[in-house]
């Protein structure tokens, strides 16, 4: 019985996928995405709001994120919808600017970290040999350190600044990306089309850039989307421990730390930044999950 039900399920999926392939207008595609991935669509909406907030932060925020121009510990009111913090900065403005900081740090760290790791993994897998095993030992050593601990050690060496947080996060992401892309590249290397390209006389680097890399693109995209949420959380965690972005930067994690000093008098100082991080992570995870579903051929059903 379950098999029959499964077959029906697959059949509808195939029908849906065919309908999607036929849908030409972007509106139809959007409608198909919302219908087939409702949770992913909800996540996309949250992410869209986040991106818009980050882009238009200067216009949206009523005050500057570092302007300590008001009375401290004002509770939420019409003038300050999220209250003010311990040195009299408008929390709403800081939370809005926090979106920009989180997204900036998350995106750049993932862009550098995952790309570097991916290239490293693909190139070493392709050439193999001593360089490959040596690089695997380096990856092992990096992975022997618990992520937060490695990040803390890197911050100890680099010193506190937003750029250094990005560097630390990027280094954190390199080993996993290298390992994942290496295993993907190892299987692509054995594909008939790679053999054909070599037989046709393509150079090693041409094979890597024209055949191996494009075919590992879907794994790269999944790693990219999944790790943005991770990078944002680790950034906030570092700031929370007081070792990430400097305290006057509008980092959601740093705002939480300031809030823990005044739990009873000003609980709004933890609620709003905490909710901002949670919502962001939730949205990014939902979107990441559905992107993974869509790019995983086993889950996609006969689109190919």
């Amino acid at each position: 019985m379950p098999e029959a039900a499964e077959r029906v399920g697959v059949a509808t999926e195939v029908a849906e996928a065919r309908a999607a392939a036929r849908a030409s207008g972007w509106l139809d595609r959007l409608r198909w995405f919302v219908a087939s991935q409702p949770l992913g669509a909800a996540g996309a909406l949250v992410v869209l709001v986040l991106i818009l907030t980050a882009l238009f932060a200067p216009a949206l925020a009523p005050h500057g994120p570092k302007d300590a121009a008001f009375a401290p510990y004002l509770s939420p009111s019409a003038e300050f919808p999220m209250g003010t913090d311990h040195i009299g900065r408008d929390m709403l403005s800081r939370v809005i600017w926090g979106a920009r900081l989180s997204l900036y740090v998350g995106l750049t760290a993932v862009l550098f970290g995952v790309t570097l790791g991916a290239l490293w993994g693909v190139v070493t897998a392709y050439f193999g040999g001593v360089a490959d095993s040596a690089s695997q030992r380096v990856v092992d050593s990096l992975m022997a350190l618990p992520p937060i601990v490695l990040a803390l050690a890197l911050m100890a060496a680099l010193g506190q600044s937003v750029t250094n947080v990005i560097i630390a996060l990027a280094i954190l992401l390199v080993p996993t990306a290298a390992r994942t892309l290496r295993s993907v590249a190892l299987s692509i290397k054995e594909m008939p089309y790679v053999e054909a390209a070599r037989a046709a006389g393509a150079s090693e680097w041409r094979v890597i850039f024209r055949h191996v890399l494009p075919n590992s693109l879907s794994t790269y995209i999944v790693l990219f989307t999944v790790n943005i949420a991770y990078a944002i959380v680790v950034e906030a965690a570092l700031a929370f421990l007081g070792l990430g972005a400097p305290p006057d930067e509008p980092s959601w994690g740093g705002m939480l730390t300031a809030g823990t000093q005044a739990l009873e008098t000003a609980p709004w100082m933890i609620f709003f930044p905490g909710l901002a991080i949670s919502l962001t992570v939730f949205g990014l995870n939902l979107l990441g999950d559905s992107i993974r579903d869509l790019t995983d051929p086993r889950l996609r059903g006969g689109l190919g």
Binding site: P2, R137, V138, D140, S141, L142, M143, A144, L145, P146, P147, I148, V149, L150, L152, A153, L154, M155, A156, A157, G159, V233, A236, A237, F240, L241, G242, L243, G253, L256, G259, T260, L263, E264, P267, I270, G274, I277, S278, V281, F282, N285
Partner: protein
């Protein structure tokens, strides 16, 4: 099994050495070495007296030797249990580690036990009663647990304790051996906060594994020969679902250690995590290095144990 264990152990040693080299080199890439930081702390202009002082400290700490020599000296001492002297606390780092390690270990073990005890049965219930309200509730709880960053959950719990129960993190840590009740009272909240966080993926994994396993032939056979539901679920289905859960726990060991650092800070537990954060913010490099080394050691040991357990439970792995 012995050959498998030996082969697995051979991977353990280079990883640990690699990690220690990495941290050692990293902490020496700091612009302005430790000697300068120590001398110029006051922020005064550099004078010839100070420069001489810097040279003296460098010689004393052996910072003027080549980095490879410094590393080997450090490693030699570390293997004999000597991690050098803490700049901040003015005592041997080994002493700090020995004092803090049991506390963090206790917190980690409590967290793991609580998480498994409550996540595995809930995952089983959720799978056995698939698509009922119980299943939906369990899945909702686990998804919320995954989305809330651990430091936010921790701070929320602390806020609720302060707001409604006037509870504040204790100033003095009481050892389990001195006063077990008081000790557990201190650790119960950080344990629950982190267990909630790591139980979410355990629950989800148990559920999906169970759903897969209950559709296997041997489960149908067990049922067909007239075994009671309970026996089928626990003896046949659960035993076969737990394998991935075991690896997963090892896999998440890194996050568990990271979470311990955060929990210790929020709930004022003077463990390894608190010591690490203090050492990092004060640039107390010998302490940073020792704690990172010990944490890598724990993390790798955990992975080794999980791999051995996995090989022991599943013969296909050890002969691969």
């Amino acid at each position: 099994m012995l050959r498998y264990a030996a082969r697995r152990f051979l991977l353990f040693v280079p990883s640990l050495l690699g990690a220690s080299i990495l941290i050692f080199v990293l902490l020496r890439l700091v612009p302005g070495d430790v000697a300068e930081i120590l001398v110029y702390q006051a922020g005064a202009e550099s004078s010839t007296v100070q420069q001489k002082h810097v040279q003296e400290i460098r010689a004393e700490l052996g910072l003027d030797r080549p980095i490879a020599v410094q590393y080997l000296a450090w490693l030699g001492n570390a293997l004999r249990g000597d991690f050098g002297h803490s700049y901040l606390q003015q005592r041997p780092v080994t002493e700090i580690v020995r004092e803090r390690f049991p506390r963090s270990l206790e917190l980690a073990l409590l967290t793991l036990v609580v998480a498994v005890i409550w996540a595995v049965p809930l995952g089983v219930i959720s799978a056995v009663r698939q698509n009922t309200w119980a299943d939906h509730l369990v899945r909702l709880v686990s998804i919320s647990g995954l989305s809330l960053p651990i430091f936010f959950t921790g701070v929320l719990i602390l806020w609720a304790l302060v707001r409604f129960f006037r509870w504040l993190p204790p100033l003095e840590f009481v050892s389990f051996f001195d006063d077990p009740a008081e000790n557990l009272k201190q650790l119960v909240f950080p344990t629950l906060a982190q267990a909630y966080y790591i139980s979410a993926p355990i629950m989800r994994l148990t559920r999906s594994q169970m759903l897969e396993v209950v559709r296997q032939d041997y489960v149908r056979t067990a049922r067909a020969k007239g075994l009671a539901d309970g026996a089928v679920i626990y003896r046949h289905a659960l035993a076969n679902s737990l394998l991935p859960v075991v690896t997963f726990v090892g896999w998440w060991g890194g996050r568990l250690l990271g979470g311990i650092v955060i929990m210790e800070i929020i709930f004022a537990v003077p463990g390894m995590g608190t010591a690490l954060v203090q050492a990092v913010s004060n640039r107390d490099y010998p302490t940073v290095q020792a704690i990172v080394f010990v944490m890598a050691l724990i993390f790798l040991t955990l992975n080794l144990l999980v791999d051995l357990l996995y090989g022991w439970l599943d013969p296909r792995i050890r002969y691969a």
